[in-house]
């Protein structure tokens, strides 16, 4: 995939306040979409790592 797009995906997700598990799963999922390997369940799996509102990591 395009290096600039890949770097943007890494940068935005890494700088977010989301849990680490979510970050790595979601990053992989978005990159897979760009590499045409999209699986809908992967998105559900990534979302499951998001914590409830107010419980996010600092």
């Amino acid at each position: 995939m395009n290096k600039i797009i890949e770097a943007a995906i890494d940068d935005v997700i890494d700088k977010s306040d989301c849990p680490m598990d979510f970050k790595s799963t979601f990053k992989r999922y978005v990159k897979n979409v760009f590499n045409n390997k999209r699986m809908e369940n992967d998105l559900k799996r990534a979302i499951s790592f998001l914590e409830e509102k107010g419980d996010e990591e600092p």
């Binding site: 943007a8 045409n36 979302i47």
Partner: protein, 642 residues
């Protein structure tokens, strides 16, 4: 992955009874550059429409009338066929478009070695199955006029081209999946405690989803309509231009006036910039302002400012027997005043007041602004005179051109009106102007979207799925930020590379891309000449084609249009470098200094298609010789080059 078009074939389509165009050599290798000269009326525009229709799949949605419009004229045929053979890396796919003129139905089928027979619909290699949308296809199969749109301030073509060629629209697919996941959760939760109000909320939310979809369809239709009208308008204007050229003197006067108008417009813009610079100094606006400012400085001197509001003032005051308010100052008060004096102006603040005072004293009025306004007035008057001369000249040209010119003029005006109406309808759908009272949640996308989101929150509250909604919002925000960041970074790189190419293409003027914000903006220039515009657009497109993940062919109708000879040469040098395969449909006027620059290139073929002496058919001639002699004999065919 690399995509190439190996050939196209027509059977019973308009003037073509049977025609096959191959873009490979005798060994089956893809020929890098193909120039096809199709005489007027032999199917150039039809070919572009069919190619787009097959590759984006829209042909199967054509209305019956549209399908029937491809039927041969003066020849009986109930069906027609168009097929295109495409190679993705080393795999071949053949797409068939069957046209049933009797029923008005178009059907697309695909065959590959893997499939064996023909399968309904379009099939692509797995990694590409989602990307062949009409937005994507029209960015590598298009006409010269469309190229210029990336420079048009009324269009967001440049931004959209980046989005589709770099497949950033894939992020929209994730946003849609994310939305679907929330809907599934809410559906599951909703069934447990279903009630009338929840169902009501869902109905209302669905209503706004329908409104949004309808508005998007309407907007798409309007955009297509505007594009078609603009194309037709350009064609008519070119015809009018050709007609005008018959009246040499009047035509030359018109060109002179247009040149003077351009110069006048540049001068007006420069004068406005100068006035804006001058009004930033208020004392230059009028003598009274300057006098008042001088008086203020004078007053400050009389009041011994800033000295008198400094610490010294309070120290002096502490020494006095009475205060400025008339009360006596005793020991206690003296002590408090001296303690408080430290809070007042120190030397740093005094320095600011001193600078202020001296700059007020130096604010001397002069008549520079007045002169600038006078000059602007003169330039505007000159602009009006030029417009009157142009109108008079246009009337004379119209009279000289007779019925044909009047007819063309009327058609151009009607098209202009249609464009204005369609643009204003599109503006209502796409505007985000909250102060516009004309916009409602049923005629405006933004307002419908707000309503939709509002119901989304209400449903989340009713189904107790606020957490799911929150997670959906987190994911959506991340995706939107990724798109924003990726677009911004891609633009920086595209601008850098485009400017590198521009230095080679436009050598007689300093043209540099400053930014891409919906469209391409130039550094220090509001506009470029028509030839420069095409040059800039090709450098921009070339950069995108170079950097995109998928290498695809570049199919273009009238690539150079009105580009002048020098720039044609430069574009001819650039095209082979940036496009892996080019198929160009050219007019005879585009051969000189463009197509003929490829005569010595080994990896190039030249095809000429002309009407057959037999009725209602065409003939194809291969090779440079016929191609070159045809263009010499038919230079007036189509647009004239400048």
């Amino acid at each position: 992955m690399k995509m190439s078009i190996l050939g196209i074939e027509y059977k019973n389509i308009r003037k073509i009874a049977d025609l096959k165009l191959l873009f490979t050599d005798s060994a089956g290798k893809v020929i890098k550059n193909t120039f096809i000269m199709m005489a007027n009326g032999t199917g150039k525009t039809t070919t572009m429409v069919l190619l787009k229709g097959v590759l984006d799949g829209k042909a199967s949605e054509w209305e019956a009338e549209e399908v029937k419009s491809f039927a041969p004229i003066g020849r009986k045929a109930d069906t027609g066929e168009f097929n295109v053979t495409v190679q993705f890396d080393d795999k071949q796919y053949k797409y068939f478009l069957y046209l049933d003129y009797w029923r008005g139905v178009a059907t697309i089928k695909t065959t590959t070695i893997e499939i064996g027979g023909q399968e309904r619909g379009r099939h692509f290699p797995n990694p590409l199955k989602d990307i062949f949308t009409s937005e994507f296809v029209r960015r590598f199969i298009f006409d010269g006029e469309q190229v210029k749109k990336s420079m048009d301030s009324n269009s967001n073509e440049a931004e959209e081209t980046i989005k589709y060629l770099y497949c950033l629209d894939k992020l929209d697919n994730i946003i849609a999946d994310n939305q679907k996941i929330l809907a599934e959760i809410q559906d599951a939760e909703g069934t447990t405690g279903s009630n009338g109000s929840l169902s009501n909320l869902r109905t209302r939310q669905r209503r706004f989803l329908d409104i949004k979809r309808n508005l998007e369809k309407k907007a798409e239709k309007l955009r297509k309509n505007i594009e078609e009208c603009q194309k037709e308008q350009t064609d008519k204007m070119a015809q009018r231009d050709t007609l005008d050229r018959k009246y040499k003197e009047l035509s030359e006067t018109k060109q002179e006036i247009l040149k003077e108008q351009q110069h006048n417009e540049d001068q007006i813009n420069a004068q406005i910039l100068e006035i804006l610079r001058l009004v930033k100094s208020p004392y230059l606006i009028c003598a009274e302002f300057s006098e008042r400012m001088y008086e203020l400085a004078d007053g400050m001197t009389k009041l011994k400012l800033p000295k008198n509001i400094s610490k010294d003032f309070f120290v002096e005051l502490a020494d006095s027997k009475t205060c400025v308010c008339g009360r006596e100052i005793g020991e206690k008060e003296r002590k408090i005043i001296l303690e408080g004096a430290n809070r007042y102006l120190g030397s740093d603040k005094q320095a600011i007041l001193n600078v202020l005072k001296s700059s007020l004293k130096g604010s001397l009025y002069d008549e520079g602004l007045l002169k600038s306004f006078d000059e602007l007035k003169e330039l505007c008057e000159e602009g009006n005179r030029l417009q009157t001369r142009l109108n008079n000249n246009a009337e004379k040209l119209l009279a000289a051109g007779g019925e044909e010119a009047f007819q063309l003029n009327e058609e151009i005006n009607k098209l202009r009106e249609k464009i204005v109406v369609a643009e204003s309808k599109l503006e209502i759908i796409e505007s985000k102007d909250e102060s516009n009272e004309e916009l409602t949640d049923t005629n405006n996308l933004y307002k419908a979207e707000l309503e939709y989101k509002d119901y989304e929150e209400k449903i989340a509250a009713a189904t107790k799925t606020q957490e799911a909604l929150y997670k959906k919002m987190v994911v959506e925000t991340l995706l939107l930020n990724i798109r924003k960041k990726a677009t911004a970074e891609l633009k920086k790189e595209i601008i850098r590379k485009t400017n590198e190419k521009l230095q080679k293409v436009i050598t007689d003027d300093l043209i540099e891309v400053e930014s891409i914000d919906r469209y391409i903006k130039l550094k220090g220039k509001d506009a470029a000449s028509e030839g420069q515009t095409l040059g800039i657009a090709y450098c921009f497109l070339g950069t995108l084609f170079e950097d995109a993940d998928l290498e695809f062919p570049f199919v273009i109708d009238s690539p150079t249009g009105k580009m002048d000879f020098d720039k044609r040469k430069a574009v001819a040098d650039i095209i082979p470098e940036v496009f892996n395969q080019m198929i160009a449909f050219v007019q005879s006027a585009e051969v000189e200094h463009f197509a003929n620059k490829f005569y010595d290139r080994p990896d190039t073929q030249f095809l000429t298609i002309i009407a057959s002496p037999k009725e209602n058919d065409v003939e194809i001639y291969e090779g440079i010789e016929f191609f070159d002699s045809y263009q010499r004999d038919n230079k007036g065919d189509g647009q004239n080059a400048f």
